[in-house]
Amino acid sequence: MSSLFSVAMLAETLRISAPYACAAVGGVWAERAGIVQIGLEGVLLSGAFAAVAVAVASGSMALGLAAGVALGVGVSMLHATLVEKTRIDAVVSGIALNLLAFSATRLALRALYDSASNSPSIAGFRFGPTGTSGTDMLLRTLLDPVTVIAVLAIAASPFVFAETRFGLRVRAVGENPTAARAAGINVSRTRLAALAVSGAMTALGGVHLAFDQHRFESGMSGGRGFIALAAVVLSGWRPARAAVLCLAFGWLEAVQLRLQDVSRGSSLATLTQLLPYVATLLVLALGLGRRAAPAGLGRHAE
């Protein structure tokens, strides 16, 4: 059992958690601004795809990173625009964007690489030692530029919410859009800006995922956006807690990978996949740590 708490496990947990945490904090940004975002999955996929496509075309990982984040911002702002300007229901828009991202990336795989399932492989960022010891793995993870940016962005989020003008206004439009507008704040513009941040954060997770796998695979987000959403709710819409919850989910997944190694295909290993979902349902059902959602979530200024 000690292997479940080793340095290698720590590295593995960090690596696995990064996309979850990015998407969860991205979700917090969207929902604290009052926009329901169940399209995190789509943003993850878009970010991952754009990063790989540009990295393949240009050979530059940095350009890929930028492109991934940019497309994530684009998709996220499209969501915000649809919700704010055309007043389409946010849940419907989120579902449609998930479908759009899933289909469009598959279509693009066909168009660009004539493949139904994956892109050519890319190098990804390679920093740090190449060894296989736990310490080496941990160092590699900690030196990964995408991880570093993600950690910095996640760490900055609580501060930005609490201590900056932008954060205050985002929370205001999320809690009471009508009052925010009466205070002279442009609700739509603030929400669009928050969704841009949300898209960038989430797409960063997608980029991490793609660079970590060294290629894009169809549907590679694999429900991470939904687990992130669970973390958003469980955290009570608080970024730091959401990130910590994602670490826990990442650890669970790392454990599960170990179990699969030990006893391939066992029922137990499959059922551990259920843990995040069942845990979320249980925690919500028992009312543990439940906290009210932003009061203006899903509401427009009147």
């Binding site: 055309t86 419907v92 449609a96 499959t270």
Partner: protein, 361 residues
Amino acid sequence: MSAVAARLARSLTPPRVRVLFAIAGALLLLNLLSWAFGAAPLETLAEAYSGTWGTGYGIGQVLFKSTTLLFTGLAFVVALRVGLFNIGAEGQLGLASLGVAVLGSRLPANMPALVAIPLMLACAIAIGAGYAGLAGVLRARLGVHEIISGIMLNRVVDVVLPWLLVAVLGAVSLRTANIAPAASLMKLSAVVNSLAGSAASIAFPLAVVVVFATFAWLERSRVGREFAWVGKSPSVCTAQGIDVPKRRVQAMLLSGALAGLVATGTVLGYEGAFELGLGAGAGFSGIAVAMLGRTSPAALIFSALVFGTLAQAGLAINALVPREAMGVLEAVVILLVGAVAIAAEPETPLTEPVAPKVSAP
């Protein structure tokens, strides 16, 4: 630009006209995509037509796809009446389909169809309703939002279905054994010869009847009317003596039952077994169907046919344009319908309260 579009949309308020907008947009996009993939746009269109409404087989396939969408669309409409988003239909129909197939495959060989089929329907209804009822109870009694629980319950089914098939049922190819012949539904081609070879079964007319009956019940019955009130203002209904949690659970049960009935078209009417992925995606497409057609039974049927056509057309043009194009198309149609539908609402001045709050401060 959006202002012009909105004004244009407003001049075409009747709901049916909105649909034309969405279809026109979808056709335009399809042309663009086929052009991008090097196919002649008209060729793609012609292929799409002949693969759907152009032949008896195509029509049958559209009806088959629409059957599923009618049930999931209606399921969404029913939950929406009480103000709930049943996005868990995906999981409900998956679980119900598996259950129906397993039960169907274990029926005694000599059981008559008159017993077997109602038993199958009851099983589909019970499993669908049960799983949706879980989300309903979580919402109504424990305050867990149905969107979150729906997503989680869907994911649970995603994980559990393959495990059940392999580890519990011992299936080799992620497929159950075949159901007893008595439990299968008659193909429509047995009545209308020109539909020969298609997957359409009498589940389609069954779905149409269910749609009309459900709408009539929602409009006329006491419970149906209270559903609508609960959806519009739960707090008022509570104060006026309507049991809001009960109505919500009831609506989710009904919604899940309808989602479960998807198994009639897929398991009983077509495949004769459950295979992983059968009916998958219909739960989400049903939301689109409902968005477009929630106002009346006729609108819902039309809407289901539109999306059924899209789905079938995707297969028909696969040689020219990858069928994923249809997924893109469907997403765009959903967004167009959603956007146009709202833009066509009467304009309210930007600075004016939409719903003045006169409640005591």
